[in-house]
Symmetry: C2
Subunit: 203 residues, 2 copies
DNA sequence: ACGTAACCACACCGGTCGGTATACTCGCAG
DNA sequence: CTGCGAGTATACCGACCGGTGTGGTTACGT
C-alpha cells in the first residue's frame, strides 16, 4: 500500500479484515446507541431496555439482531477498534517520514482523547468482564495485540534498530498516556509520552 | 526518615495520613469481603447481599457501618491504596541507592502483579464510576497523584536531573506496564518497563 | 398471490438491585 | 439495674435486570 501504514510484509498477514457483517437499519441504530451508552456509562450500567428505547426500537429487535447483550458488547468493541484504526491511519498519513515518525502516534492519540474523554474502551471493558469467558475478552486482547504490532512495524519502517523492543516501549507509553489522561486527569499525558517516545527512539 | 522512601522535604507535607477510622469486627469482615469481591468481579457486578453473606453478617449491619454501597466502595479503594503503599515501601527498602534506584519500582510492581491479577483497582474502578459524582472518583485521583509524587521524589533523591519530567515518564511506563500485563496478558510488561525506565534515567 | 424478513407494540417471566423496617439478643459501662 | 451500641434474623419495598412470547403491520421478491 502506501507509506501511511506499516506494510503487510512487516505486519505479516494483515490481521485486520473481517468485513463487518451488514446490519439492518434498526440493528444499526441499536449498535450506535449501545456504543455511545456503553462507552459513556459502562457496560453493566446500561440495560437493554435503555438501549432499545434510545435506538427508537424494541428489545425484541435487539435480541433478533444480536442474540444477547454479551454479543452486542462484543460488536461494540469490534466496531470501535475499526473506527480507531481508521482515525489512526488517517492521522499518520500527515506524519513526515524518518526516525521520529512513530512519535506522531501520540499526536493522533492526543486528538482522539480530546473527544473520547472516557479513555480506552477496551481497558474499561476489561475492568468489567476480565476474568470471565465474556466474548468481549477476545476483542480486547486482539486490539492490544494489533496496536503492539502496528507500533513495532512503524518503528521498523522508520529504520530504527531494535524495532521489537522499541515498539514495545512505545506501547507502554501509549497505554500509560491514555490511562493517565483519563483516570488521573493529566491532560498533557500524550504530549509527555510523545517527548519520552522521541528519547526512546533515540532521535 | 530513612532512605527507603522519598523524604517529606521533597514530597511536601506528606499527603499520606488519614489514620483509617477504626471498624467494628463485623464492619471489618464486611470491608474485607467487599474488597476481595470488588477487585475480582468489579463493583457493579457485586451486590450488597452477596457482600453481607460472604462476610457472615447482614445487610442491616452493612448499612449501619457504611451508610451506602458507594461509601463502602470508597473505603475499599482507600484501604487498597494503603496496602499498596506499604507493599511498595517495603519492596523499595531492599533497593540499592544510586541513579538506578527508581527502576526498582518496576520490580515491586512485577511482584505485586503476580498476586493481583486483575490489575489496577483504581483504573478498573474508574472504568465503572468515571464521569459521575461517585465518592470513589476522589480516591482514584488521589492515588494517581500520590504515585506521581512518589516517583518524582524518588528520581530527585537519586540525584537524577530533571526529576519532574523523568518522574512523569516513569509514571507513564508504570501505568502502561500495569495495563498491558493485565488487559493484554503481556506478562513481561513490568520487566520491559523497567528496562525502558533505566534508559529514561540515562543510567 | 404467497412467503418471508424486518419491524413494532406490549405483556410477561424469575431474579436481583440498593435500601429500609421490625424485632430480638448480647455484653458492657454508667 | 439500666441504657446503649453492636450484632443477628427476616421480611419487605419499588425498580430494574436480561430475556422471551404473541400478535400484527409493512415492504419486497418470486
Amino acid at each position: 500500500m502506501t507509506s501511511t501504514a506499516p506494510s503487510d510484509a512487516v505486519l505479516g498477514p494483515a490481521p485486520d479484515p473481517a468485513p463487518e457483517e451488514a446490519l439492518t437499519p434498526a440493528g444499526e441504530r441499536l449498535l450506535e446507541a449501545a456504543s455511545a451508552l456503553f462507552y459513556r456509562r459502562g457496560i453493566r450500567a446500561v440495560g437493554v431496555d435503555l438501549i432499545a428505547e434510545t435506538a427508537g426500537t424494541t428489545k425484541k429487535t435487539l435480541y433478533d439482531r444480536f442474540g444477547s447483550k454479551d454479543e452486542l458488547v462484543a460488536r461494540y468493541l469490534r466496531r470501535r477498534a475499526r473506527v480507531w484504526r481508521a482515525f489512526l491511519r488517517a492521522g499518520m498519513s500527515d506524519a513526515p517520514l524518518g526516525p521520529g515518525r512513530p512519535a506522531a502516534v501520540f499526536d493522533v492519540l492526543e486528538a482522539w482523547l480530546r473527544e473520547q474523554d472516557r479513555g480506552c474502551a477496551f481497558v474499561n471493558a476489561y475492568a468489567e468482564v476480565g476474568g470471565t469467558d465474556h466474548p468481549a475478552v477476545a476483542e480486547i486482547r486482539a486490539e492490544k495485540q494489533w496496536m503492539l504490532r502496528y507500533l513495532v512495524a512503524l518503528v521498523a519502517e522508520a529504520g530504527v534498530p531494535d524495532a521489537d523492543r522499541v515498539g514495545t516501549e512505545l506501547h507502554l507509553l501509549y497505554e500509560g498516556a491514555t490511562v493517565l489522561a483519563t483516570a488521573a486527569g493529566v491532560v498533557d499525558a500524550p504530549a509527555r509520552a510523545r517527548a519520552a517516545a522521541l528519547r526512546v527512539l533515540a532521535v
